[in-house]
Symmetry: C2
């Protein structure tokens, strides 16, 4: 067996091949889309959807899709693979547009969130900016299915791919709802935080790309539903732990996200939950003054970080993360019994990359 390429290289290779595909999709979308002739807001919405979709980041999902298509060992349908990749990224665009509106987030992927882009375009009309953001997200959600249903692929494949995406979409919506419910819970259990990570992120970013890749490769994923879900869950929880670590201890210049906001918002993440759990009575007094205090300064949050370090939170979170990553690796290792070991290798290698990310 050949030496497998490092996951980061595999992911970069698929991303480089995918960028022209998604750029071409948006180049022709406007002329193929049936919009009211006299409207300009529709054109603007499609432009904002395109801009966010092209600022795509790592495109880990695309690598999952293509590597999963190799698992069954056949020759994947290139058209099905191409539209599946577009669908996955369009669904992601939809999720980000609505999530950033819900969270009132100003930036995303190194640019303005769609809501903030609209807010800048019409500063005196906040209700219109909100409405157009809702609608732009709705368009992206339906384009994610349109691109599959409209493709020259056989209807059986199209319905199976669409079902995977609809399940991923609804799973994510339920996860986003649960994420909002978290703000009403008094110190949610770790299990709750894990379920949110699974539904809100892993369904659309790991599980659906796996299922769709197998479909494109001519395989039936349904007999393997259990192992795919277990892998996706463990991979997603490990990744969320890394996100939550970076959300407290990360370098803002690298992550592009605030390392203070989870504490300031009083948000129970895998990281902040460990801090509040491990606090001595004296430390708990500090936390009570800072955690959930919107006026807390970076110096205040630094005191929380100091408590975290004193209580070995980074090491303990790292151990939990390793546990989930190892669970994912062990799950994927069983796949060699029925799938191509060379393709399986990517899925046993990628968790280590995922939990080692600096952003």
């Amino acid at each position: 067996m050949q030496t497998a390429a490092p996951p980061a290289d595999v992911i970069a290779r698929y991303r480089d091949a995918f960028e022209p595909v998604i750029a071409r999709y948006f180049d022709t979308l406007g002329s193929k889309t049936d919009t009211p002739g006299a409207a300009t807001f529709t054109t603007e919405a499609l432009n904002l959807i395109r801009d966010l979709s092209l600022r795509g980041g790592k495109r880990q999902r695309i690598a999952f899709l293509h590597e999963a298509a190799r698992l069954a060992g056949g020759t994947p349908d290139p058209v099905a693979l191409s539209v599946s990749g577009l669908s996955i990224e369009l669904l992601q665009t939809h999720l980000l547009i609505h999530d950033d509106l819900i969270d009132n987030a100003p930036t995303r992927r190194g640019g303005p969130s769609t809501f903030y882009a609209y807010s800048q375009l019409m500063p005196d009309r906040p209700q219109h900016a909100m409405g157009l953001t809702v609608l732009a997200g709705d368009v992206a959600a339906y384009l994610a299915l349109d691109v599959i249903l409209d493709a020259p692929i056989d209807p059986h494949t199209a319905t199976r791919l669409s079902r995977a995406q609809v399940a991923a979409g609804n799973g994510t919506f339920y996860g986003q709802m649960f994420d909002l419910e978290r703000d009403f819970l008094d110190r949610p259990e770790t299990e709750v935080i894990a379920q949110i990570a699974d539904y809100k992120a892993a369904r659309s970013s790991a599980l659906a790309p796996l299922q769709m890749g197998l479909i494109c490769g001519g395989a039936d994923w349904t007999p393997h539903a259990g192992t795919l879900s277990r892998y996706s869950y463990a991979f997603g929880v490990a990744g969320q732990m890394r996100d939550d670590y970076l959300g407290l201890f990360g370098d803002e210049a690298v992550t592009g996200k605030s390392s203070d906001s989870d504490v300031r918002d009083g948000k129970y993440t895998f990281a902040t939950r460990l801090v509040t759990d491990s606090a001595t009575p004296a430390q708990a007094k500090v936390l009570a003054a800072v955690f959930g205090n919107p006026d807390a300064s970076t110096a205040d949050v630094d005191r929380v970080r100091q408590i975290a370090h004193d209580n070995r939170v980074p090491a303990r979170l790292s151990a939990q993360m390793d546990h989930y990553a190892t669970t994912a690796v062990n799950e994927a290792a069983t796949w060699t019994a029925h799938w191509d070991p060379d393709a399986v290798r990517f899925f046993t290698d990628v968790p280590a990359w995922f939990i080692g990310r600096a952003s």
Copy 2:
């Protein structure tokens, strides 16, 4: 040929048969849906989607679907028909949830809008109420496709039905965007108001049910795309004219909607556009003080209504409405050349019913 039943009776008959179908769908949805086990917000969202979907009103769309299924003269697939009806109503629920959020509308179908229901549940958390409304709408949008894709029907039918719904959904989103753009336009042309009506309402309420009915009846609608679109457009514009008439001259106790708000909001509808167009310089001064004045009283709006009556706006709007209704009738009359005249009869009869509605 037998004497055709009045359209109102046909519509009521299909509605009565459909109500138990949609009630049953929601009775089993919760147990079939994959939601995070510990979450309560997901259950609440599904309940709100159910409540709005069951307060269904006339269900004109369901009659369109079933009568279109009879056009080709075959025996329609009952499962495809059933899930198409559910899909049409779920998409409508989605559109209403998001539209009422965008318009900040407190009531819908004789109950609270979903946004207001959430706002009452969490009065101190407006951002969470907004977010959950966005997500509840997203769930309904994907359930509208899930119900088709998950049904025991052949994949070719499933993809064709899904494509019709995706096109209807995106058409509606573009129409809603154009509707928001209207607020930025200085006296939009009548053609603009007609395009908004077509995209925002006729695509999902007339065109898609027609297309889906034909698919369920085993017919290919695509060779007839032109005449179906022309019918849907004329039917939709005539209906919007009736809505706009009722929005200025209707009895609020019957319509359940304010007859002052279009004037107060300065909204250019088919009705208010005629009023502003026909005003004398003296009347224009009254309009300038009232139209678009959020503090205008009902007495102020009564002065606008008096101007409208003085300038024969009701009769002129009625003449325009008749023109579009007649266009729809004439379009449907051509269908007897290739479709069952008895089924065509519904579509030639229904425009007169639609423009005679009191609510």
